[in-house]
């Protein structure tokens, strides 16, 4: 007999897609049976209360979770999200039910040994319910009682060599794409850079000292699989500045239909035979490709590295060898002044350990934002408020046409006094010698 009736949630057990309701129910059964005699540190029925609260929300069309309070682990200002239920009598198991963000490994590869240890800890001291993973990238432990927070942190750091992630006005847990670990498009080692910067900036990650949240995300190429350009205050997108490498034999094989285009991504429909003119050359945004006989030619100087041709013919075309990354800044979701896409700040920078040049850019940006940013003002909003020029000035980066989509269409230039010959101090009486009042 279930502790709470959940007729609406039960409906979500049907259908082919993995049902989170069925999964939580199997956790309920597991905790009740407790086959390994775990001395559960929070009540066994906690997952039942989670389903109960959710069913009530399905009925009411409103959440039953309250704002976080000030909970956390000693010395950190982030990593724990306080959460309280607004129906504690009905659902005592989740009356206080805080989330813990556990910093995921770069690339999200795991050994089962490590995952099992995480599971054992979370069954023992928490709800047994997780998010794999939260939107920012963390492993999310979904719900435990206040008294368990320090215990979990102690066990994570002492037994699992594992730290918490970020929350609040600090550096949020950085995340990356699979990168060179298993992708031929990756222009730099996203895991290495993600891990290095996460460790370099542990203080910024754990102790909120920023105006608001700040996100790093690492995409190995302009395909942007982790959406850095849309959601990271600072996004690091791999690129190259020499020539795309061409294997002309493989080009012929694509044209001859021996290799499926786009790595076989379109095999679910008959799109007709591959047409290199229509599908590659004709779709190139800069028109920098053509055929000479059966040879594919690329005017690499005109290429903007959009990845389309490489995506379509991965066995014939490969990224160049002079690799690095572009840094874009200021992306954010709509709260408050509307969504912003990342804007290009550094067109090209090498990504080589110990990444000193990259750190220099980061720290200059932070110095400016921490000095000038208002409470809860994202970097992108500060750039809008004070101007892109100010960002270039503060980061000591020379303006180039790469920084703009187009030059301004109004002439309202805020000239600086030192830019104008003779400065702004003039003698009106001397002026009047030539121009009578």
């Amino acid at each position: 007999m279930a502790k709470h009736e959940t007729p609406m949630l039960d409906q979500l057990e049907s259908g082919p897609w993995p049902s989170f309701v069925s999964d939580i129910k199997q956790e309920i059964a597991h905790r009740k049976a407790n086959p390994n005699n775990v001395e559960l540190q929070i009540p066994a029925e906690v997952p039942e209360d989670i389903l109960g609260v959710l069913e009530l929300s399905f009925k009411h069309g409103r959440t039953h979770w309250k704002h976080g309070g000030i909970v956390g682990v000693f010395g950190y200002g982030g990593g724990v999200i306080g959460r309280y239920c607004d129906q504690p009598e009905m659902f005592p198991g989740v009356a206080h039910f805080h989330t813990i963000r556990v910093n995921q490994p770069a690339g999200k590869f795991y050994s089962t040994e490590f995952l099992r240890k995480l599971c054992d800890l979370w069954e023992f001291r928490g709800s047994g319910i997780t998010n794999m993973h939260g939107s920012t990238g963390d492993i999310v432990f979904l719900g435990t009682h206040t008294k368990q927070l320090e215990e979990i942190f102690f066990e994570l750091t002492h037994n699992l060599n594992q730290d918490l992630g970020g929350s609040g006005s600090n550096l949020r847990t950085p995340s990356d794409c699979i990168g060179q670990a298993r992708c031929e498009y990756a222009c730099y080692d996203t895991q290495a850079l993600c891990h290095a910067l996460t460790n370099e900036y542990q203080d910024e990650l754990h102790r909120p000292a920023f105006p608001y949240k700040f996100k790093f995300k690492f995409d190995g190429c302009p395909n942007c699989c982790v959406a850095s350009i849309a959601r990271a205050d600072m996004s690091f997108v791999g690129t190259w500045r020499d020539d795309i490498k061409i294997d002309q034999e493989a080009v012929k094989a694509y044209i001859g239909g021996e290799i499926a285009p786009n790595a076989g991504a379109h095999s679910g429909r008959d799109w007709g035979p591959f047409d290199i003119q229509k599908e590659v050359i004709g779709l190139c945004p800069t028109g920098c490709m053509w055929m000479e006989g059966d040879k594919l030619m690329i005017d690499n100087r005109e290429c903007t590295r959009c990845m389309h041709c490489i995506n379509v013919m991965p066995r014939a075309l490969r990224i160049g060898d002079d690799r690095g990354l572009s840094i874009l800044v200021g992306a954010k979701a709509p709260i408050l002044d509307g969504a912003q896409m990342g804007s290009l700040l550094v067109p090209f920078i090498k990504a080589e350990d110990p990444y000193d040049e990259i750190k220099e850019v980061i720290e200059k940006v932070w110095d400016w934002w921490m000095e000038e940013g208002k409470n809860r003002e994202r970097l992108g909003e500060l750039i809008k408020r004070q101007g892109f020029q100010r960002l270039l000035e503060m980061t000591e980066i020379e303006p180039t046409p790469q920084h703009v989509k187009e030059p301004r269409s109004n002439p309202y230039i805020f000239w600086k006094e030192e830019e104008v010959e003779g400065g702004w101090q003039r003698d009106v009486n001397k002026f009047r010698e030539d121009h009578k009042r």
Partner: protein, 381 residues
């Protein structure tokens, strides 16, 4: 249920404390074939929906079987994933940014038994535990936020609508008949703890009623200046009210200025705005994050409001199905949903998707609005 100490001493919190050690090193977790060939991959191929092969310069191959997962996951389920990874994958597994799980093996003969095992596992309720798919020109897993399961500001649930949508889109998770990949995302409020604002199809929770004012508690629960500063449209100002003969500091809200962002509620719990009839879903379409062919784009609002309809959200899933089918029928190969809409024109988009156009869809929020109005005589009847 006796309390068991981890070794932490609350009287001496700094004793033996370990801090700032960061995440585990990624190299601890690479499967051997990945560790050996990192940075030396030549090409990849999607052999069938959900199955990839990556070939390295060394001649080594890694076969990946990708399966969908609900991001809300129990430790029992994770342990089952571990059992599978131990049996077939040498004790290694990974997750993708879109909540899929990837099982990797180092030779082709290991793929079929792994696939058969994954496909055979079902929850007691009947749904698949590990549906194979989510690759190429199909519809992969939905990235989403927390929703009613654990968040304080949502205007809709997350796991519920995602389950309802993925049940409807399931065939396209397991096939690759789309013109290009279709990325669906859900955010349960416009804080958008995910990149839904740049998705082919975005499901967004939205409030439509201004906050209620809990005058009696407001000054006790909130910093009034912070609540006022939180409002992007300056709709909140300080006020005084008298309740039971007691003069109280509070705020007043100019309701006609409210655009229901909920930012004030984040700063001040005495300004709740959630409401059964007021809250629901906005559908946005045509965004992308890739730089492929055209620049990254924001998603555009194509349906201003759909009601919350637990447990299955039929209005939302029907609308998404309509958009997906119109796109699949009309777009060219490689063309993303937003590129298709721009090519045929947004007037045709609404026609093809059979969606009504209402005044809500015309931007009137600050300067960027102007750039979205039609400033040419080129349009289609």
């Amino acid at each position: 249920m006796a309390f068991i100490s981890s070794g932490y001493d609350p009287n001496e919190p700094m004793k033996n404390r370990i801090t700032d050690i960061g995440p585990r090193h990624y190299e601890d977790f690479y499967p051997p074939v990945i560790a050996k060939n990192k940075g030396k991959w030549l090409y990849h191929e999607i052999l069938e929906p959900g199955v990839l092969v990556h070939v390295a310069e060394s001649g080594d191959e890694v076969y990946t079987v990708r399966v969908g997962g609900a991001r809300l996951m129990s430790v029992t389920h994770i342990r089952e994933i571990c059992d599978i990874a131990d049996k077939y994958c040498g004790g290694h597994v990974r997750w993708t940014t879109r909540n899929n799980i990837e099982f990797m093996v180092d030779s082709k003969d290991k793929v079929a038994p792994l696939k058969a095992d994954l496909a055979s596992r079902k929850f007691d309720g009947g749904s698949f535990k590990f549906p194979i798919g989510g690759t190429g020109a199909g519809i992969t897993n939905i990235v989403h936020t927390q929703g009613w399961i654990h968040c304080h500001t949502p205007a809709t649930d997350a796991s519920g609508p995602v389950k309802a949508c993925m049940d409807e889109l399931f065939a396209d998770f397991q096939s690759m008949r789309m013109p290009a990949q279709v990325r669906v995302s859900l955010a349960c409020c416009l804080n958008m703890c995910g990149a839904v604002h740049c998705s082919d199809i975005a499901i967004l929770g939205y409030h439509r009623k201004p906050p209620m004012l809990d005058h009696e508690y407001l000054d006790k629960m909130c910093e009034i200046p912070l609540a006022i500063a939180a409002c992007p449209t300056a709709a909140i100002k300080p006020a005084k009210v008298e309740i039971n003969g007691q003069k109280l500091n509070t705020v007043s809200i100019n309701n006609s200025r409210c655009m229901f962002c909920g930012n004030c509620y984040t700063m001040c719990p005495a300004l709740p705005l959630a409401d059964k009839e007021g809250d629901g879903i906005v559908i946005m379409a045509g965004g992308k994050v890739s730089n492929r062919i055209s620049a990254p784009k924001f998603s555009k609002v194509v349906v201003a409001f759909l009601p919350n309809e637990p447990p299955r959200w039929p209005s939302t899933t029907d609308t998404i199905k309509k958009i997906v089918e119109a796109y699949a029928a009309g777009a060219n190969k490689y063309e993303r949903l937003g590129e298709w809409a721009e090519r045929i024109g947004w007037e045709r988009f609404f026609e093809r998707c059979d969606l009504p156009f209402t005044h809500h869809l015309i931007d009137d929020f600050r300067d960027p609005a102007y750039f979205t109005w039609r400033q040419t005589t080129q349009f289609k009847f």
